[in-house]
Structure formats: C-alpha cells, structure tokens
Symmetry: none
Subunit: 127 residues, 4 copies
DNA sequence: GTGGTCTAGACCACT
DNA sequence: GTGGTCTAGACCACA
C-alpha cells in the first residue's frame, strides 16, 4: 500500500489517507481480505498523529471499504462492483458538470468539448 | 444580481457570495462598470454580517473582478476574455480528469464516456 | 492648469487634486498670483463633488500654496524657494531610503546602485 | 521574530504586521520552514484582536510568503530569490523616481544627487 | 451615503 | 493546541 501526504493542499490529512486507500481498493490494487498496516504503524510511517490514521480507518470502515478484527488488524472488504459502478457514474457526471459549466462561459462548442475530452484522455493515458 | 446562501453546505459564506458574483461577471450577466449592491445592503439582504460581505468583495477586488471606489461603491471590472478562456480551459481539463479517473475504475469505454458527456450536457441545458 | 483623476488608485481624490496643483506650483508652471479655476468650476470639470475640490483648495491654502480672496477667487502664492528646497531634499531622502532598503535585501552594491540611479534619471529625462 | 505596532501612523495594523514579517523573510532573518508564532499568541503579544493577526497571516499566505498547515501552525515558505531581486529592482526604481521628481523641482545637479545618495546610504548603514 | 478597519467573543474542524 | 469562519457593533475617512 502506498500513501503520500501533501501538507500544503488544504485537504485534511485523514481525508488524503482515506481517499488514497479507497482508490487502491476500488482500482483492485488491494484485493479483498488484504491486511492493511496497523493504525500505529501507518501513523509512524507517515509521521502523522495516531488520531489522524484512526479517523481515516474508522471512516473507511463506516463506509464499508474495510473491516476491523479485534486484536488482529484491519482488512480490505470485498467490493460490490455494481455499487462501485454507480458511484463512479455519479463522479463522472459531477466532473462533466464542472467542465460544462466552464465551457458555457468560454463559449466552447459541443464538438470542441468532445475533442478536449479525447485530448484529456490521451494526457491521462486512458486505454 | 442574485446570490443565494446555503448554510448547510460547509462552504464558507463569503466564498459562496464570491463565487456566485464571479460567475455572473464571467458569464456576462453583469457588464463592466455595473454598480454592485453596497456591502451593507447585501449584508442585510442576505441576513449576514457586514464583515462577511466585506471579505467577499475585497477578495473579488484582489482577484481583479471588481474595483472599489472610496465613498462611492463597488463596480464590475472589464474582463480580459483571453484570460477567462484560458482559465476555463484549465477548469474543463480538471473536470474531465476527475471523470476519467472514475471511468478507469468503472472500466467505461471511450464511446460510453462520450455518450455520458452528451447526456450530461443535455441535463445541463448546454446548447 | 491640468488635473487628472484616477478613481482606482486608492489615493483620495482630494489628495490627487492637491498634489497635482502643488506640483504645478512648485515646478513653476503656475506663477505667483495666477488665478485658479473656481471650486465649483473645477468640480464640474472633473465630474467630482464640490466637497472634494473644497477640501483640496482649503488644504492647499492651509499649507500656504494658494490664497483665497473673498468673492474673487483663489490665487497662487509666491513660493519661498529656500523652503521648497528643504522640502524637496526631505523627499529625495525618503525616496532614497526606500531604494536603499530594497537594495539591502537584493544585495546590490554601491556602484550598481549609482548606476541604477543614473539609469533611472535617463528614463525620467532628467537634464 | 520581532513586530512593532505604531497605532498613530494611519497604516492598518494588519498591514504593519504583514510588512514587517515580509521584510524579515525577504532579508533572510527568518529561514524557510521557520514556525511563526501562532495567530493567537501574536494577538495577545501585540495586544491586538485575533482577527487582525489572522488577516495579516492569511494575506501573507495568499502572497506566497508563508504557508498554513491545519492544526499545526504557520511556516515560512522558501523564497524565489530571482523573483525577489526583480521586485526589489522595481522598488528601487520607484524610490529613485520620487527622488528625481523632487530633484527636478529643486534644480539639483546629477553630482549633487549622487552625493545625496551616498550620504543617505551612510545614514542607513548600507555597506 | 460609501468602503476600510478593528474589537471581543464565539463555534468549528483538524492535529 | 492549531487555523478558519462568523457575528454584532463600532469608529474612521471619503464623496
């Protein structure tokens, strides 16, 4: 597992941890029942307070991404792929909405917008 | 001019005001040298502290969207359309990047993504 | 007499008027006993409130640059050249102090600073 | 770190704080990642409202001189020395322009002006 | 009337 | 502990 903290970005640290673990789970990098590093281990690794990692893990548990076995550790839950797909669709729409809002102001045409999407996909090495 | 405050959203009030005015300026709804409502007027209209509207206006001034004349009021600056276009392009790319990231996880094809974009444009009444 | 108002600069209008008239007097453009435009005339010319021009004139009078003859108008006082020289010397020193403070930070040498002075004199068409 | 407030000077308190900290950073007195006193500490030290120190710090952040880390404190950013040099050169020129303007009026020669510069440097302990 | 600044006290989120 | 935001009320300078 790999987590990188950026102190400057304004995003709370616990959320950075949460989001990065979430992504690794959703992308399949972390398979079901994979054992995550302990709260204390992660805290010392990232040079971060235990309170912070605790919050990240407990929110991940609450959202169903990981489960906690008393005295053993934290493990990755198996993901409901249907649910993931829905969540991702919602995320795509929200991203598109941002882009469309901006496109309205800049008076960019439908075709141009599709071209920009294609261009950005290349930049993000999509497919 | 029209500004709506949502107290629940977690976004600071001064920023909600700022963003909404910024949008109205960029979209051309508010033309250059339009006189904005006074800080105090807006504060009482929105049932908000004077300090809050002051902050919104002074940040808008600092970012070059409006100019304040002592003892007279606040006015809309003329916008550099070239600069706006660049900013909007960056915003479009960032929105697309979010969508692409999610599309990767959900394993959505190029064509599907373009269809989703078209679909979202309809939902946002983008002509 | 020539006065130009810039609304955006943050400098109070009455002070802009004051400073510009003062300069024209000190530079000799306006000779002693020259009759200035009336307060009301200047106000309409500059599209400014009468209160504003009144303040500019009364402060100029207080500082001894102009004198007011009831019912006739405002006139330029004769300037005490010795006093002017002293004032200008103080102004020069304050300008130099700003420059030196900046030079300290940028670690610019004595010679470089003199060269920059020479350079700036050329840019300002001095002599 | 050392900050002194002068209530009489007409300059806003938050700006006095801002300018003095900025100078200490630019002059190298405060190195990168130095932890500044907390907003509240500084406020009580200077016998000033928390809002005032907050404003000073947040404007310093916006201008890139310091960075604020949630729940930890405020730290000095590393400065781009090239940029600083440019800014200082502009400041030097503006200071010189003021001096030259005054020198024109007082009819002071090139040599005299250079001598005055030398004299002012001594008074400002510039080596 | 306008904007600019300041205060004292409060609540919140993050570490 | 830290910074971020907000309030209600105040005084000032400017037009």
């Amino acid at each position: 597992m790999r987590v990188i903290i950026r102190n400057s970005s304004g995003v709370p640290i616990y959320e950075q941890i949460k989001e990065q673990i979430k992504e690794e789970i959703l992308s399949g990098e972390l398979h079901a029942d994979y054992m995550l590093p302990s709260i204390r281990q992660l805290a010392t690794d990232l040079k971060v307070s235990v309170v912070t990692t605790t919050r990240a893990y407990s929110e991940l548990e609450q959202e169903g991404y990981i489960y906690n076995v008393q005295g053993k550790g934290c493990f990755v839950s198996s993901v409901d792929s249907e649910l993931v797909r829905e969540q991702m669709l919602r995320k795509i729409e929200s991203g598109f909405s941002i882009a469309i809002k901006a496109a309205k102001i800049a008076k960019i045409s439908h075709e141009e917008l599709h071209e920009l999407l294609e261009f950005t996909m290349e930049g993000n090495q999509y497919e």
